[in-house]
């Protein structure tokens, strides 16, 4: 039961994270965040998000390539 709850939690939060990341790709959302945060904060966050994205994609490509 605990395992199922954990899995459901993982799916739930994973889904939210995925949805947010897709939302953040939209130009209108980016423009809005840019206006709210100011360009310095926005660009600093964007820079980190991009690096994290790159670092996450790299092992994903890694694992995907190792699969038969």
């Amino acid at each position: 039961m605990k395992l199922i709850k954990k899995l459901l939690g993982l799916v739930f939060f994973g889904g939210i994270a995925y949805g947010l990341s897709k939302l953040a790709e939209k130009d209108e959302v980016q423009e809005t965040l840019f206006g709210i945060l100011g360009e310095d904060t926005y660009l600093a966050i964007l820079d980190k998000v991009r690096l994290v994205g790159d670092l996450l994609m790299w092992p994903i490509d890694f694992v995907r390539a190792l699969l038969p």
């Binding site: 423009e31 840019f34 206006g35 100011g38 660009l43 964007l46 991009r50 670092l55 790299w58």
Partner: protein, 690 residues
Amino acid sequence: MNPKYEALFTPFKIGEVEIPNRIVQCSMGGTTLFGWLEPSHFDLEGADFLLQRAKDGVGLVLPGMQVIRDTMGRKWLDSNRQMYRVLKPYMDEYHKTGSKLFIQLAGGFGRSMAVTPWMAALGRNDLLNKLASPIVDVQYACASASATPNRWADNLTSRPFTVEEIQEMVWHFGATAKKLREAGVDGVEIHAVHEGYNLDQFAIANMNFRTDQYGGSLENRLRFATEIVQEIHEQAGDDFPVSLRYSVRSCTKGWRKGAMPYEEFEEFGRDMAESEKAVKILQDAGYAFLNCDNGTYDAWYWAHPPQYMPDNCNLEDVEHIRKFIDIPVACAGRMDLVKAAEEIGAGRLDAVAIARQNLVDEHWVTKIKEGREDEIRPCIRCHNGCFNFSKADGTENMQSLGDSLHLARCALNPPTMQHKRYKIVPTRRPKKVAVIGGGVGGMESALVLKKRGHEPVIFEKDGELGGLFLTASAMTFKENDKDLLRWYKDEINRYNIEVRYNTEIDDLSALKNEFDEIVVCTGSVPRSMPQIKGFEKTMNFTELLRDGKIKDKKLKTVVFLGGGQSSCEAAYDMVYNYKKKPIIVEYGNDLVAAQATCLANTSFLRDALEYHKVPVYLHSTVTEIGDGYCMIKTPEGEFKQECDAVVNGIGFVPAPVGEKGPHIHRVGDCVAIGNLRTVVWRAWDVCMRI
């Protein structure tokens, strides 16, 4: 089309494959179809870039080098079946363009492997290397013909390949080529008896001390390369064309030491006499095309020429070597297209190989075809975005992690190899935007804003656009920089962007009524060090270069305070073009010791200043500046140096105008001191969202 380019647009053949024109896109690390250092997979960004190049009209596209065995993961390139399944429909789509595609297969880096500190630590320690070897085997990745010193890391020596390892690799070249052919790829290029890569290390006598069948005579040293082409023909068919990336001469004086283009020296690598024999052996072995230049990693500026190298720097050697063989030959290295067309038209050359121009302008071939060559954005050979492997004395490769993951991006053209991140999206709310400053940051911002549908107005305090880049481009050898400035000015005109010249803005509030947004691009000012007595007597780069004091006959001996890129470039211009006596005083342990400045650029400056015997004082500083002299403090002591001027080369500090605010944005050096890449990319980051 201007008739002077016509010869470029005639077909030619490599083996039985017809290439529609003479323009070859050289392979560039990062523009790979199957990933860079990570395990091979079909790389969507690389695939999109290469397809766009084919659509633009490049005759033969060579994707970035693909090591036959992954550096990370250590799988052979022929082992990922899914990758080839995806490649097949891609090639069908690709061939609709009429362009041809040869995949560049590499035998590895050997001693040229640009190891980062953690890789060097693994490579030096047998136990750590063994533990990490299922993922990355640095000692294998650096293995070479013989035990030779690494180009990047001190105290790291390549281990020799075993004969079994060589033969295993040769077989996989054949197996990979077979799979590529089945997927529709037109040919392969073997990388490389060129630039000091692994196969070149086997070929060069001073890097190959083997006594087996892969060492000794020239035939033996070329055996690895000849067995590869024979194996490919065995497995993929005799009619499958195999090109070879080839350096005619090494232009190398010794380990980590290159030769100037005008220097007489004793060749450490491959000289012309040996090259004349080598090309015949390689042709007889089955190579159908030689894609040529010069250089090694020790003389990197020949293979990746910065602005300091002359145009067509390898052409004479390449045309010479062509006389000894019957197969077609291409030449790479700062090739001028008009000159290339002349040589092809005259039958002295078969194709022109162009690399980084493809990154900076995605439509350059189309523009030539349509007679719009003036609209081509020029490559300035900075290597800041595409190839910024950097090194100073005592360091390994200083490249940042983000750049290691993504080579082949462009300092001047952010969408290159990141087209989903940087794109022009038309605005839904057009605004009137004031751009303060007409330097590169201001002009790039205005162009991005205009393309999105905004209405930018540039305020420039001088009577000319360019800002500090007018100074940077003033040096004799900076023709590409001057071309870039001309291009920017033309683009501003072409997009009909209003420029208010001779208008200095001190108070942003005055603009708020007229404009919805303000972008501040006011750049930087020279840093000051008032603690140095007499510092106010220093000359800045604008006075020296743009105002023309460099030409002043009274100015003979000049001390540069600081050994950064600007100082070294100005010192080189001074000694080489004006026959003056520069002296460089640098606080650190090396010249141009900056991350993101490519070793091809920095090593030229270091080698050139040494060749011209420019005095360089490291770990030193200037303590006092007087009339006609300065005091230089070195680790050995302090002395008086007579000089006609001291140039302030200690750097710049941001000089923004006004306060920050919700509709006020900052771009370029007024945020933080950087380079053209940081300026241009931030201009996009900011202006894509206004």
